[in-house]
């Protein structure tokens, strides 16, 4: 056996004869080619449907687009509609959560849900100032 110059010669199994290696490669290639050549035979005639398989009509392109694109899009629009419409119907942001209005210690009510202003019989008082 010839000496191996690799650092890992103890882990590498060397083929003893180059002629044997070449023959092995040729046999592998022939087997692969033969296997590929038999595949069309296994598949049968082009377009043929195996026995006992259903054979539905071709799907219309528009129908496929409707199912694969239109339906998800409709679901997306419907969910967005259900999420945003209630707040739009209520008349916009709430007093305590808006960017411009901040109410410390106040209830979460919209402007339309506020109580009426004081009348003449009110016992409330207080003060006003302007700057």
């Amino acid at each position: 056996m010839r000496q191996c110059r690799s650092r890992y010669d103890h882990a590498v199994k060397q083929t003893p004869n180059p002629a044997v290696r070449r023959a092995s490669r040729a046999a592998s290639a022939a087997a692969a080619v033969g296997l590929l050549a038999t595949l069309p035979l296994l598949a049968g005639p082009a377009g043929a449907v195996p026995e006992n398989w259903s054979n539905p009509d071709d799907v219309d392109t528009l129908y496929a687009l409707g199912v694969l694109v239109g339906l998800p899009l409709a679901l997306f629009v419907g969910i967005a509609f259900l999420v945003y419409v209630p707040s739009l119907v209520r008349g916009g942001r709430q007093l305590s959560s808006g960017v411009d209005d901040e109410w410390f210690g106040g209830p979460r009510k919209t402007r339309d849900e506020l109580a009426d202003p004081d009348g003449d019989e009110s016992k409330a008082g207080g003060a006003s100032a302007r700057w």
């Binding site: 960017v99 901040e102 008082g125 003060a127 100032a129």
Partner: protein, 126 residues
């Protein structure tokens, strides 16, 4: 006139925290409920402030401070029970002080000062 807003909101988070802590401390000290609204008053500021006041759980025991920076309006609404402890004259004095501070550009400082002063006057009359 100096703009008192911070970005798109009236306050930053430390200011909100300071106002909330001041309210809590004032309520414990005075036994009065405090509510502070900062934003746009729709219609007449006084009428809108009373709407806010009447929407609370216990208006009689509550003081509402409403500040509309755009209208440069400040309203203090005190319930009937509160008025036995904080007179309208006291509230007016506090409102004038608050307006002076807010006009100087310190919105949060003006509100905090007002809450503290109102609570102090309530304790003095208790």
């Amino acid at each position: 006139m100096e703009q008192v807003r911070v970005g798109d909101a009236h306050f930053d988070n430390p200011q909100r925290l300071a106002i909330s802590n001041t309210i809590r401390t004032a309520e414990l000290a005075s036994r009065i409920e405090f509510s502070v609204f900062v934003g746009t008053s729709h219609g007449h500021p006084r009428a809108y402030a009373t709407q806010l006041h009447n929407s609370l759980v216990a208006p009689a025991r509550t003081i509402v401070i409403m500040v509309d920076p755009d209208a440069r309006a400040l309203e203090i609404v005190a319930g009937g029970w509160v008025r036995d402890r904080v007179s309208d004259a006291d509230a007016q004095a506090v409102a004038d002080e608050m307006a002076g501070i807010i006009a100087g550009g310190d919105l949060a400082g003006g509100i905090i000062h007002g809450i503290e002063e109102l609570a102090q006057k309530a304790r003095a009359h208790a």
